[in-house]
Amino acid sequence: MKPTALRRRTTTRTLIAASLAAGLALAAGCSKSEDSGSKSPTASDTADAGQKVATPAGDAKSCTIDQFGGTKLDIKGATIGFSQSEKEANPFRIAETASIKAEAQKRGLKLLTANAQSQFSKQISDVQDLMAKGANLLVIAPLNSDGWGPVFRSAAAKHIPIITIDRKINATACKDYVSFIGSDFISQGKRAADQMITATGGKGEIAILLGAAGNNVTTERTKGFKDEIAAKAPGLKVVFEQTGEFAREKGQSVTEQLIQSKPGITGIYAENDEMGLGAVNALKGAGKKAGAVKIVTVDGTRNAVQGIVDGWISGVVESNPRFGPLAFQTLDDFAKGQKVSQDIVIQDSEYSKDNAKADLGKAF
């Protein structure tokens, strides 16, 4: 080849190699983050704060292993596969995975885990993999509600029971899968409204920081909140609804605009903790005092509960991520041949200034 072309390529390689090396040095090098007060949740922290069933088993449709078409087995000695949908990059997913792992450890079960990194096709192959590796029972946190046909077919062939957590799959319970365990987002919205009514005394103008558009969590948390306000506190008016896309930065920017144009706002309902914390930032930046604007949020992360302790947030409705104990109990009962409910709605707790300090350790 031409010498110039060769030289060019060598230079390029050197440059790229240097860039990569520098990048790696930055990544793996001598980083030192600041000492922040918050510790990441550990398994032992979360283990005791498991879930409770909101609807008693039995009154809804139920499922047994005979109906499902399998054979009883002892969960001890069984292998359990867990497929997580998203990267553990937010407190909810971190706590969810940690809770599953902790419960498996507590019960002394063999657990296989996989993470789909927000790619649905990866989740499908993850689950196939788990089955191939010998999982007899599956717990799935689905990324999508649809598209699970192939998984159900191979699971049915092997009579592997599936429990889905936190998001429902559009399929037939007790046939394609056994049960769904999750929160009632409408009820979360209602309870947030109750907190808002208490905090504001049922009078004034309130703003809603909506979650990401086109997301069922957003629509249900909004519907529950508005319905409850309309029913119980006609004195409260929703005067502002803008999306904060579940992100702190967006929540902060939108709230900054809000308090400029509507300085008399009474309360802000943030559909997740992050946006609520962004709203707190905005209020602090505008020189408001803690508690001047009532903030109610949903999720129950430690930062938000700390916000109650500090006086900036009035109430937090929990969306409980600790599916471990309930999921394994359900699997255990089912495998033994007992009746389990097809739809298990779990009870989310909530935090207000009465219990925030005491229950801070329970927050994830």
Binding site: K2, P3, T4, A5
Partner: protein, 506 residues
């Protein structure tokens, strides 16, 4: 023989140019007809009219005895006029067979492509041309020559009556050229009319039966090629009838310059695949060396190779005794080589920037301190050169894109003179500029040589070349075929050199 395709009185006008001016032309069945002419002669326009890309403003196209007017290239193709362009315009990722039958695939009863039949027929079609390839392979895995054969096979298999080939040999190896000629002869034998566009004289004499020469949109000659004197053919193309050659020209050149002894530029053995073969030339200070040859003979490529814009596969460039790294424009410029490219608009001026910025462009690092531009020095230099070269603009801040061609050329000259170069390579410095500006540029070239610069002058105009140069190096098919010196620098000698036969193709 009946004419299968004739045109008469064809005229096509573009804004500012009469591309075709009353052209008559006839292609006959079973005949290979050469269509030749220099840049801007109207060959491409004629082909585009024949194939339905352009509509003529005046005149008539008659095909198989009936007047026709093709609306699109596809119409022309369906009617039986196929064109094979320089660059093969097929789909490189599809298989050979798919390419052959693109748009007219054989279907089975279900309306699906009948691959077995398609492959069989593709193989037959190619075998008929003497080509044996696996028709299931993607087209791009074939060599350029074989790809061209596929294009040809496609053209022939659509039942073509006329096949137009636009410089089909420009990127072929000599062996592939012979295969192509075999196919062309076969087409001729089948009674197909072939219109063959090329600049390679040897090829024309080898394969063509008739020739039509275009110049400035007009037909200047048409007839059998056998018996046509090569020299006459070249004179026709370049527009210099032998009788017309005058001893005293109308150019602004003054003639010989005093020249130094030691060459300021020495290029030896420049070789670029398919383009240049062992080209050597030298220029002494104060000397204007002309570089002659037909279009496609490698003139511009020689200049670009010297200026570092075209990396040569082999060869050396030495300026004032020091070797210059080839393939690097900045290195060539540092050594004192400056190139005014042929395509002034695309490669020369920066149209959106002002006259001032264009003049200062190359010299910018020298006109800066710590990366900051020294505006005052630039103003001084720009003023000097605008005055010296008589650049006509509304001011130094006018965009260069808005200037006339002649003034754009002067801006480029100013850009290079600001670098105080040792060698100026001028590629068609007066093309496309009006008569007055042309004279100005020509006398500027003289002045610069007198100031001691070495100048390489490339021109398609034999008169300009002969009168402007002290010495002329003549290229043909990428190789030096003659060097005219002293009294030998005449238009007659130039044309004879260009027309000379043979040449050792590798």
């Amino acid at each position: 023989m009946p004419s299968v395709l004739t045109v008469s009185g064809l005229t096509k006008v573009f804004p500012g140019a009469r591309a075709l001016d009353g052209v008559d032309f006839a292609a006959e069945s079973g005949e290979v007809h050469a269509l030749i002419g220099e840049n801007g002669a109207g060959k491409s326009t004629l082909i585009k009219v024949l194939t339905g890309v352009y509509r003529p403003d005046e005149g008539e196209v008659t095909y198989r005895g009936k007047p026709v007017r093709f609306a699109t290239p596809l119409d022309a193709q369906h009617a039986g006029i196929s064109t094979i362009y320089q660059e093969v315009n097929l789909v490189p990722l599809l298989s050979v067979a798919r390419n052959l039958f693109l748009g007219r695939e054989p279907r089975n009863r279900l309306g699906l492509i009948d691959f077995r039949r398609m492959h069989r027929e593709a193989e037959e079609a190619l075998r008929a041309l003497g080509v044996r390839v696996d028709v299931g392979r993607p087209l791009r895995s074939l060599g350029i020559g074989a790809q061209q054969m596929v294009a040809l096979a496609r053209a022939v298999s659509v039942d073509a009556r006329v096949v137009i080939m636009d410089e089909p040999t420009s990127s072929l190896e000599p062996r592939e050229v012979q295969t192509l000629f075999g196919v062309i002869r076969m087409l001729r034998g089948r009674g197909i009319a072939v219109i063959y566009v090329s600049h390679r004289l040897d090829e024309l004499y080898e394969i063509c039966d008739a020739v039509t020469v275009l110049r400035d949109g007009k037909v200047v000659h048409t007839g059998r090629i056998a018996g046509l004197d090569r020299l006459r053919l070249v004179s026709l193309m370049l527009g210099r009838e032998m009788s017309e050659v005058r001893s005293e020209g109308v150019t602004k050149f003054t003639g010989a310059h005093g020249t130094g002894d030691e060459p300021v530029l020495q290029a030896t053995g420049l070789t670029v695949r398919h383009t240049l073969h062992d080209v050597s030339l030298s220029i002494r200070p104060g000397e204007v060396v002309g570089l002659g040859g037909l279009l496609g003979s490698g003139r511009s490529e020689t200049a670009k190779a010297i200026a570092g814009a075209l990396p040569p596969d082999a060869g050396r460039v030495v300026v004032a005794g020091a070797a210059v790294r080839t393939g690097s424009t900045p290195a060539a410029i540092r050594a004192g080589i400056s190139l005014l490219p042929e395509d002034r608009k695309a490669e020369g001026i920066v149209p959106g920037l002002s006259v001032r910025e264009n003049i200062a462009l190359a010299a910018l690092p020298g006109l800066s301190r710590f990366g900051l531009v020294d505006e005052k020095r630039i103003d001084r230099i720009v003023e000097t050169f605008m005055k010296r070269l008589r650049i006509k603009a509304s001011g130094p801040h006018q965009k260069v894109g808005e200037l006339s061609g002649g003034n754009q050329q002067k801006v480029l000259l100013a850009r290079w003179l600001a670098m105080q170069p040792k060698v100026l390579l001028l590629d068609e410095p007066t093309r496309g500029i009006d008569v007055g500006a042309k004279a100005e540029v020509q006398s500027l070239i003289d002045e610069l040589a007198e100031d001691g610069l070495g100048v390489l002058l490339i021109s398609s105009d034999p008169e300009e070349l002969v009168e402007g140069s002290d010495r002329v190096v003549v290229l043909k098919d990428g190789a030096v075929v003659a060097e005219l010196t002293g009294d030998g620098v005449t238009e007659g000698a130039l044309l004879r050199a260009i027309a000379s036969k043979g040449g050792d193709d590798d």
